[in-house]
Symmetry: D2
Subunit: 144 residues, 4 copies
Amino acid sequence: MRGRGAYPVWREIATRWADNDAYGHVNNVVHYSWFDTAVNAWLIENGLLDVTHGDPIGLVVETGCLYAGSLAYPEPVEIGLGVERLGGSSVTYRLGVFARGAAEAAAEGLFTHVYVGRESRRPVPLPEAWRAKLETIKLGGRDG
Amino acid sequence: MRGRGAYPVWREIATRWADNDAYGHVNNVVHYSWFDTAVNAWLIENGLLDVTHGDPIGLVVETGCLYAGSLAYPEPVEIGLGVERLGGSSVTYRLGVFARGAAEAAAEGLFTHVYVGRESRRPVPLPEAWRAKLETIKLGGRDG
Amino acid sequence: MRGRGAYPVWREIATRWADNDAYGHVNNVVHYSWFDTAVNAWLIENGLLDVTHGDPIGLVVETGCLYAGSLAYPEPVEIGLGVERLGGSSVTYRLGVFARGAAEAAAEGLFTHVYVGRESRRPVPLPEAWRAKLETIKLGGRDG
Amino acid sequence: MRGRGAYPVWREIATRWADNDAYGHVNNVVHYSWFDTAVNAWLIENGLLDVTHGDPIGLVVETGCLYAGSLAYPEPVEIGLGVERLGGSSVTYRLGVFARGAAEAAAEGLFTHVYVGRESRRPVPLPEAWRAKLETIKLGGRDG
């Protein structure tokens, strides 16, 4: 799995009591809620995503995650984020999940949006302003 | 706590693996997701609630729950629902949570909506069509 | 609702994309996941709660929340926490939910644990070490 | 994506209000909570999984999902489940997510458990009783 150096964008997220499952560790589902959270927060904070009125909108078409280590509430996690691939209408992000301060990733995920017209729900080209911003967070080389 | 006889409306909901917390029982938070689910489903299925375009809309102003017994995935739960109080702009529901087939409630909750204009966000009188339907699911006498 | 001055303990929690519901605001259920998170984190970080081996264990017997304003991802929330009442076997916490930097609470909750033996599941007196620590975070006077 | 005929095991799961996100459709994260729910319920109901005492235990090492259509509360979903691959210590399940009564899958996922000793947390051979049961739900040929 990629190390911390691969990721240009970072976000710390508090774990929650309910994130731990019956085995006392963060449930595998929760990682995906962090992916959603990290990707959309970056898009909103960079002025790209407007949930209520934006057009086009991103539909999630594929997600995946590899799990290498366990995490547990109440420790926060640090999510590294970068763009893996920019397609004509799509963006694939790679995300690394790290315990706070840990060198090794506890999990690594992929997350792909396809952009569609708000009304048509048909794929549209990624707007240039998006493409330019997304280029700035392309993943570095594999370092892990 | 009220018994089954108190509730005019019923809904079965599957529990999920993630509902169980580190103690191996359904976490206290999950009950509220069932309350939301039971109330809104009844409103939608009776033609009252239109999430996208409806006006007025219900804002949740108060919720509460008493817990008497534990529940655990994979057992489904049965949610009993009835109207406790119809105010000028508000509706308070009472909800009973029962393990499938159990006579005694495992939990009992209250859930209050205030109706406001979609734009104004100010309280408005409950529409007559709503009031008429909601009257039909008034709670029976206390039987438990 | 109580203002910030009432609460002796604070915890910031990141909101998540999935916290927002179909109306674009944090769903009423999510507040309870923050209550759980704030209470148990304080207990763990103060050396009182050991989820795996601890005895006695706290069962949640009552929760409730009043909602005064809306919150939305991606803004973080700040949770104020204090002890409202210390009983023989029980602890009731009061929690205030604030948008980051906001003077007024967006919601206020109550959360009651009863302590029971891990095996017996019968109420037991709150251990003295717990009582002493919990006394230190008693709620201040009502200031809001 | 595979059609209904591919899946030997089925489970209906109620959607919940909180499953819908700010776009009014079930959030991509929720599908994974259904996968967990369907896999573990089958294991428990077939006498294989004992969450509290069982040894070995299954660790989730990889999950993934392709999304083809949207789903929305309050409609229930039907989850098809089958074993895609039985390894020495691992089991990979394939899952299909269908709106109630729909012929076409709205999503399709993969979910891999590796079995480890409860104490050692090292991979162990899948017990014969498990292997025999899991063979009975091998996926049929691709039909979709």
